[in-house]
Amino acid sequence: MASTPSASGSPIPAYRNSVMANLRELLLRRETIGYLVSSNLRAGHRDKLLGNLWNLLDPLLFMAVYYVVFGIGFRQAGENPTEFVIYLCIGLLSFRFLDGVVTQSATCIRANRGIVGEMRFPKAVLPISVCLSRLYDFLWGLVVLGVVLAIIGHPITVWVVGLPVLIGIQLLLCMGLAFATAYIGAFFADTPNILGIATRLLFFSSPIFYFAKSEHGRHGIVPPEYLDLYSLNPLVGLFDGYRDVMLWGRMPAIDSISYLAVLSVAVFVFGFLMFSRGERDFAKYL
């Protein structure tokens, strides 16, 4: 922190761009984040005829489309279609959370160029509010799924207490990715194009509409010798975890969850540091 000498008054603290100052300022901006989240949500839902009903309809329709394509079209549903629908929906909802965060964060600095270029505020509120908006959608999706589960009488076990933990870990991962993609997206105009390809690749290399390993009477499509390599994708552990607590009713595998947690923390720290470093230059290159 630099102070400036002056004859006529007390020294004024100069502008700082340290990570700590950034963090401290962020904590004071909870209200700002709240306004941004509500504007984000509004942008997606307000102008539509069905209004808030979208929160329910959107995940339902979304799940229905994928069920028709993969469950019926590709004949993945097998002997137990209900189980497959739940399996598919859990993966889809969680993936959509991550995909939405990454895609929207890549443009969040540019989309808000009016604010970024005219006010001094911690820019991290932008990717954070993207994450929270998508989290809100995700939670609605889980509510819909929960209602469906209750209606079909799927048993709920004590392991459902693991759900908030998993959501927390995913939120951390998403925030880290949001910071990183927001940073890259601010400087490189073609980021959304490349991310589109990357997330599609991720979609197909994660166990969403197929089973990776053979269990629960299903045929896994990943050859056993490649399973370790395949599991390096943190989403494998994440989706398995969600399914363990919601669908299979058992304890998630500790090793894959700890791998996921450590990686999420690392991504978060890395993303935040990267974002903080670029923050002062955002306004220049818009």
């Binding site: 002056s6 004024i12 100069a14 502008y15 941004l36 009016g114 006010m119 490189f188």
Partner: protein, 273 residues
């Protein structure tokens, strides 16, 4: 008075100007790192441009300072640097208290929110609590003359309405330092007069104001001091009317050179006055 409000010492701000592509792309960045020969070509394509060079600006609390100069002389960059929106590449910038910055173009509003909601958003971005905004919101809306549009989304606003709302927010949050970039010339005649009055009243009060404008009459009327920027450097700094006079004389003396150096522009108000 007497307390230091703005202290900018020897600040320089650098931009990278790119000739080949309008914007940086990841594709290009990846190719550059893989193929060394492309790197040198790209380095040549990028050029440094110093928008501000060793600029000093010191203001006491309560001063109203004008910033004048031709288009591209660094006025907006100076204001943005003082606001902390752009970081100075060299030098120190220090400003005491809350800073509100208002630019003529765009005004940072979220088009999905109503005018009222935007007041809350920008207020909170500038560091105001909800209670504080609650206490000023009615005055803000009234001063901006938005009427029923306060409840319509900003998407539906005309440019003048946005600027009026922005200006209204900026003065009602009572910032310690108010930075105005060619704002007062955007609204209609009546609003301009009202805004001018406000600035007049601020003068000598607690607030420090920096105004960038091409309107010499305004600068002479409301500012105590003026800074004349030319190509990023301070050409002259001092008593407002003297600086304005020198600037106008310079502009009159060299019309040919200016016309040759710059693409044809619509007649600016400064020449007319």
């Amino acid at each position: 008075m007497g307390e230091l409000s703005i202290f900018a010492e020897n600040i320089s701000v650098k931009f990278l100007i790119r000739h080949h592509h309008a914007e940086r792309t990841l594709r290009e960045a990846v190719l550059q790192s893989l193929v060394p020969s492309r790197r040198s070509r790209s380095a040549r394509a990028r050029q440094e441009f110093w928008a501000l060079k060793n600029v000093d600006l010191v203001a006491q609390r309560g001063e109203v300072i004008g910033v004048i100069g031709r288009n591209g002389s660094g006025k907006s960059t100076l204001l943005k640097t003082l606001a902390g929106i752009i970081g100075a590449d060299r030098g120190t910038v220090a400003v005491r208290g809350r800073v509100a910055c208002l630019m003529s173009f765009g005004v940072g509003f979220n088009p999905n929110l109503t005018g009222r909601e935007n007041v809350y958003l920008s207020g909170s971005m500038l560091g105001l609590s909800r209670e504080k905004i609650d206490s000023i919101i009615d005055d803000v809306i009234e001063f901006s003359e938005l009427g029923d549009f306060a409840h319509a989304s900003v998407r539906t606003y005309s440019k003048g309405m946005r600027v009026r709302l922005g200006f209204s927010v900026a003065i009602h949050i009572s910032p310690d330092v108010l930075l105005l970039d060619e704002v007062l010339t955007v609204g209609d005649e009546a609003f301009q007069r009202k805004a001018g009055n406000i600035i007049q009243h601020i003068r000598g009060e607690e607030q420090t104001v920096v105004i960038a404008s091409h309107n010499m009459q305004l600068i002479r009327e409301v500012c105590s001091r003026a800074v004349w920027l030319e190509a990023g450097c301070v050409r002259l700094q001092g008593e407002a009317s003297a600086v304005c006079k020198a600037y106008i004389e310079e502009v009159r003396r060299t019309p040919q050179r200016l016309a040759a150096a710059a693409p044809p522009a619509p007649p600016s108000p400064m020449v007319a006055r």
